[in-house]
């Protein structure tokens, strides 16, 4: 919350400008943060398009690296991991919403989901399980984006209210000598 100081009028105007700049900077930051979730969603959709095509545009791994990586884990294990991940991610985001935390971590989820695409790809079952990973990704990222959006909107509302209060005080106290003499604080 922005609190203007009750010092000399000249200093107060300077203070007002400083506080106003800070508030505007916070508002710009919040606005850009609210849109950050959309970048994560776009990245996920790009990864999904690649996975839908079975990553055909990527060169195949050399045999020595394939042998180094070894056998892929069983499909049932990857399925179980996907369910546990989706459940945990949803719980995490809901708990952040409940606590009012501004963290979203959308980019991390894009990384995890791409990892699942890679695991299914190496297990040669990507075509069968693509939609499960896609649905999990849409759910987690949509929830994360909704949380971030509501948090940023609430913070923006508070900052704009503070800015409006600041502007009203400046209008009332600063720039007009008659307004200043009728200020009850000055007597």
């Amino acid at each position: 919350m922005v609190q203007p100081s009750d010092s000399l009028p000249g200093a107060e105007t300077t203070e007002y400008h400083r506080l106003r700049r800070e508030a505007e900077k916070k508002i710009r930051k919040l606005q850009s943060r609210a849109n950050r979730g959309l970048w994560a969603l776009a990245l996920f959709i790009a990864a999904s398009i690649g996975a839908y095509r079975n990553f055909a545009f990527l060169p195949s791994l050399p045999e020595n690296i394939q042998s180094l990586l070894g056998e892929s884990p069983p499909t049932e294990l990857i399925n179980a991991a996907l369910i546990v991940y989706t459940f945990s991610a949803i719980i995490l985001i809901l708990s952040r919403m409940t606590l009012g935390s501004g963290q979203a971590g959308a980019m991390a989820h894009v990384g995890y989901l791409t990892g699942f695409y890679v695991f299914y790809f190496f297990a040669n079952v990507l075509e069968d399980n693509f939609w499960a990973v896609f649905a999990a990704g849409v759910t987690v990222l949509a929830l994360a984006n909704y949380h971030l959006w509501t948090y940023c909107n609430e913070a923006l509302r508070q900052e704009r209210e503070s800015l409006a209060i600041l502007e009203r005080r400046e209008k009332f106290f600063g720039g007009q000598p008659s307004a200043e003499s009728s200020d009850p604080q000055n007597g």
């Binding site: 809901l94 999990a136 759910t139 949380h147 959006w149």
Partner: protein, 283 residues
């Protein structure tokens, strides 16, 4: 719309439940599909082994008519798309389609490539490796099984003709089965899961939304409307009947409004009262 209490309560719940149910249903469908397909392959492999054993005696007696008849009868069965036996060189010896007989099989085709990929062909394959899935020229989805016919002591010591003991493989049985029943089963199962998921979502999300609306949102809206009108000076309509914890809020709002009305009435009375101290006597 998304900033209201209603949206903040319903949207996360709807997203969470819908997404999780969809993910679980998709994974369950995929797992069941894999299990059913693997069972179909095992069943088909067992069928192919049965056919090989059925033709064994006729082969030992070099009875080509009987073998041809067996293959022809099997090929006429509903659900069998193709059945043929070819020797180790890939020459089709018996087939339900007479036009294929005495023609060579393409070693690079889907069913042959797994054995013939390297310079030395594989002699043994697991069940899943023997299976291949494709769509034939009649646009039918086919599961084809390749069952090898191994050389046995009786084979290389029979009186009619004999094979060299060093020869491991005498030929291969290739049978293709129509996958329409499996596809239909999967489709029915998918439909049932879809209906079930839909019902679960309607009950969960709809039930939560309906209960929240009845017990929380409607009382809050009623109270909000009343206090908004009362703040504007309109106290003519009745105070809403609200139950639960909101009743305390309603009670306190009512108290505040009464106190405000009382104060305003008292202020009006004071303003209307004549001044008890005359102007001349003041100061």
């Amino acid at each position: 719309m998304f900033k209201s209490i209603c949206a903040k309560a319903i949207v996360p719940v709807a997203l969470t439940v819908t997404g999780f149910v969809v993910v679980c249903c998709l994974l369950l469908y995929t797992t069941i599909k894999t299990d059913l397909t693997n069972d179909a392959v095992k069943h088909s492999s067992a069928l192919a082994d049965t056919i090989v054993k059925s033709t064994r005696y006729a082969m030992l007696r070099s009875d080509w008519d009987t073998i041809g008849n067996i293959i022809q009868n099997i090929g006429e069965q509903k659900g069998v798309e193709h059945v043929r036996i070819f020797n180790k060189k890939g020459l089709v010896m018996f087939s339900e389609d007479p036009s294929e007989v005495d023609h060579f099989v393409d070693k690079k085709s889907a069913g042959c490539a797994s054995c013939h990929a390297g310079p030395v062909p594989s002699a043994t394959l697991k069940d899943m490796q023997k299976a291949r899935h494709f769509v034939n020229e009649r646009q039918v989805k086919v599961l084809a099984i390749t069952a090898p016919i191994y050389n046995e002591p009786a084979c290389f010591s029979a009186a009619c003709h004999f094979h060299s003991p060093e020869q491991k493989l005498l030929g291969t049985l290739d049978i293709g089965l129509d996958q329409a029943p499996l596809t239909k089963t999967l489709s029915v199962m998918g439909g049932r899961m879809l209906v079930f998921s839909f019902m679960v979502l309607v009950l969960t999300v709809g039930g939560v939304a309906a209960l929240l609306r009845k017990n929380v949102f409607q009382p809050i809206r009623t109270l909000t409307d009343f206090t908004e009108k009362a703040a504007g000076g309109n106290l003519t309509h009745c105070f809403p009947e609200i139950g639960g914890e909101l009743e305390r809020l309603a009670h306190h709002s009512r108290q505040l409004l009464h106190q405000r009305d009382h104060a305003m009435t008292r202020l009006q009375e004071l303003e209307e009262e004549p001044d008890p101290v005359p102007k001349a006597k003041r100061g």
